[in-house]
């Protein structure tokens, strides 16, 4: 860490403990103040390799070796396009081949080998798999998902542990005070030998210390309300209820016309009945009420029951 110096202003970590190294896509480091100075306008060129750089691409250097930073950067960029997941392949072998290819591209780029061809390759891939890339962008792979879950779990466990420790410390403090008070009370009011009393108390304290065994916090898999979180091993579906019994078969309704046969819907259109009724408005048609239906209803009503007589019904 000590030889960590800005290549431009030669400030080292030793001289300025709050020195922050920044790095850009080319992998050459610069200290924060130099970045501020050089990229006042928002863009400029790297003082070492003269590559044009943009200011907002600078970020804090995480790794000591700037080339690692560069590699991470490139990896990020490449993986944004090469975002296929294991589920997208038919076999493990194909997936491994694909990973191999991605790795070689990243290696080539980060070590400046055959940059032009490799970039072409990436472009080609992008073109070929545009849809796939877009689709996978939103998808989180299973690995990532599990990772996230594990992280979440760890976080929770960490929190629980912290809480427990805090409680224990408090408890211990209280206990100590209580013991002390008890000891003093004993010494004040007891008629026994002071030395004996001290001995018994020290023994008790020893015992209590030994008893303290850390119990691991129980694993939490559900909220206090009982709702499970985390991924369940298998999502279950509620079985679709199936109707038992014989299938429904349609029987046409039988209307006793009790009068002359009214014209059918087709007759109404063909034989000119329709020309004597108001045609439906647009709204009525939208609702499914066509004028031939209204016409048919009127005609049916007119004809049905013409043969009616009470005697025939009784």
């Amino acid at each position: 860490m000590d030889d960590f110096t800005c290549p431009r202003c030669r400030t080292s970590k030793f001289q300025n403990p709050s020195l922050k190294m920044m790095v850009n896509v080319c992998g050459h480091g610069l200290c924060e103040s130099c970045v501020d100075l050089l990229f006042l306008k928002g863009s400029g060129s790297c003082p070492e390799c003269k590559i044009p750089l943009r200011r907002n691409n600078f970020r804090v250097q995480l790794f000591e070796d700037a080339t690692v930073e560069k590699e991470v950067d490139i990896r990020k960029r490449v993986l944004r396009d090469f975002n296929k997941k294991y589920e997208d392949f038919n076999s493990l072998r194909e997936y491994n081949d694909y990973l191999e290819e991605v790795e070689s591209i990243i290696y080539n780029l980060s070590n400046d080998i055959d940059v032009v061809n490799t970039n072409k390759k990436i472009e080609q891939y992008k073109k070929d798999n545009r849809e796939q890339i877009l689709k996978s962008k939103g998808k989180i792979g299973r690995d990532e998902y599990e990772l996230e879950e594990v992280l979440e779990l760890e976080k929770q466990m960490e929190e629980a542990r912290k809480k427990e420790i805090h409680l224990e410390v408090l408890e211990a403090k209280k206990k100590k005070i209580r013991e002390k008070e008890a000891l003093i009370d004993e010494l004040m009011f007891s008629n026994a030998d002071a030395k004996n009393i001290l001995d018994t108390f020290t023994q008790l304290a020893q015992q209590a210390k030994e008893e303290e065994v850390k119990k691991p916090p129980p694993k939490v898999t559900q909220f206090s309300t009982g709702i499970q979180f985390g991924r369940q091993p298998q999502s279950t579906f509620i079985p679709v209820p199936t109707d038992e019994g014989p299938l429904y078969s349609y029987k046409a309704l039988d209307f006793p016309p009790d009068g002359p046969k009214p014209p059918t819907l087709r007759d109404i259109l063909e034989k000119g009945f329709i020309s004597h009724v108001r045609s439906e408005t647009e709204q009525e048609r939208a609702g499914g009420f066509k004028s031939n239906i209204a016409c048919s209803r009127a005609l049916q009503d007119a004809m049905m029951g013409l043969f009616y007589s009470k005697k025939s019904v009784v």
């Binding site: 009068g259 004597h276 009127a298 049916q300 009503d301 007119a302 029951g305 007589s309 009470k310």
Partner: protein, 328 residues
């Protein structure tokens, strides 16, 4: 479909069967007298109670009232609402006596119910705005009687009126008939149908028969002849055997409608009104003491029930929270 309706099944009566309707009305009248006239001896019973004939006159008179009320109704009422109210009114007094339920009250209830059933949307406030006199009382009467009316109609609420069949016949005449400008018939038809509502034809003949009679009547008034249309085109081949019966029916309908006299006898009216006032069933008279007492009792009962329930609820609330609310 008229032929599958409850109207066809339960509310059509036979004319030949020694006048089924009169029999039923007589029976309603007898039943009422039997139930409420025990202390009156047989010889004097018609001194006190209305005869079946007098009841009929009362009903007829209130049918005229019904028609006038509907005509004056604001907002204007479609005629199928009027037709439906007539049906309800007539059906009600087939099995009920005028002395038991006053036609004045049943009439407005019938119209109110018909408005609902025929989807002519008026609120009760709008409705009673058309009534002269105490509107609050009218509201109470209508709403109290509504369920009774429906019960007496056996909840057979859908009514087939002759108005749509008339439209159908006119379409058919325009399409297949040879009559010049069938629209001329309309005023005659409307007049005929309106008068037909005042008779019993709607309880005796199917709506299409009434409609056909109306069309034929209107045509004959204009010195037109539609007989060939009916015999050759409308009935055609398959209706040959039924033609005679239909002609008979149409003739009967026309003569019945012709017989309607729409001018009531004022003197007789007054006498009948007085008589009815005396023999009305006090149980169903909103002005009687018994009725008022009963309504009050029902209201009190409701109140008691309400108080009991609310008291129970509040005690439950308090106990559920496990604390009592100190009343200020």
């Amino acid at each position: 479909m008229f032929s599958t309706s409850t109207q066809c099944k339960y509310w059509m009566f036979s004319i030949s069967n020694e006048d089924e309707l009169s029999k039923l009305r007589d029976r309603a009248n007898q039943k009422h007298i039997k139930n409420y006239g025990r202390q009156v001896n047989d010889a004097a019973k018609y001194e006190v109670f209305l005869t079946s004939e007098e009841e009929k006159i009362m009903v007829k008179r209130y049918e005229l009232h019904l028609r006038d009320f509907c005509k004056r109704f604001q907002p204007p009422m479609p005629r199928y609402v009027i037709g439906t109210s007539f049906h309800y009114f007539k059906r009600f007094y087939i099995n009920n006596s005028v002395m038991n339920y006053h036609p004045k009250e049943i009439m407005v209830t019938c119209i109110y119910l018909a408005c609902k059933v025929e989807e002519f949307n008026v609120s009760i406030q709008q409705f009673v705005a058309n009534i002269k006199g105490d509107r609050e009382k009218a509201t109470d009467i209508i709403l109290n009687n509504e369920l009774l009316l429906m019960e007496q109609l056996s909840f057979h609420l859908s009514i087939h009126n002759p108005f749509r069949p008339v439209e159908g016949l006119l379409i058919d005449i325009k399409t297949r008939g040879s009559l010049q400008d069938p629209e001329r018939l309309r005023s005659g038809i409307e007049h005929f149908l309106e008068r037909s509502l005042l008779t019993d034809v709607i309880l005796l003949y199917s709506p299409s028969q009434v409609a056909l009679a109306a069309v034929l009547h209107a045509a004959s008034k204009l010195q037109e002849n539609l007989d060939s249309y009916v015999t050759d085109i409308l009935f055609g081949e398959d209706g040959r055997g039924k033609l005679e019966e239909l002609i008979e029916a149409v003739r009967a309908i026309r003569s019945m409608v012709k017989m309607v006299d729409s001018v009531p006898d004022r003197n007789q009216q007054k006498i009948l009104d007085k008589k009815l006032e005396k023999c009305r069933n006090p149980d169903n008279n909103p002005d009687s003491e018994i009725y008022k007492k009963r309504m009050q009792a029902m209201l009190d009962e409701d109140d008691d029930l309400f108080h009991a329930i609310s008291a129970q609820n509040s005690s439950m609330d308090n106990s559920a929270l496990n604390m009592s609310i100190a009343s200020p």
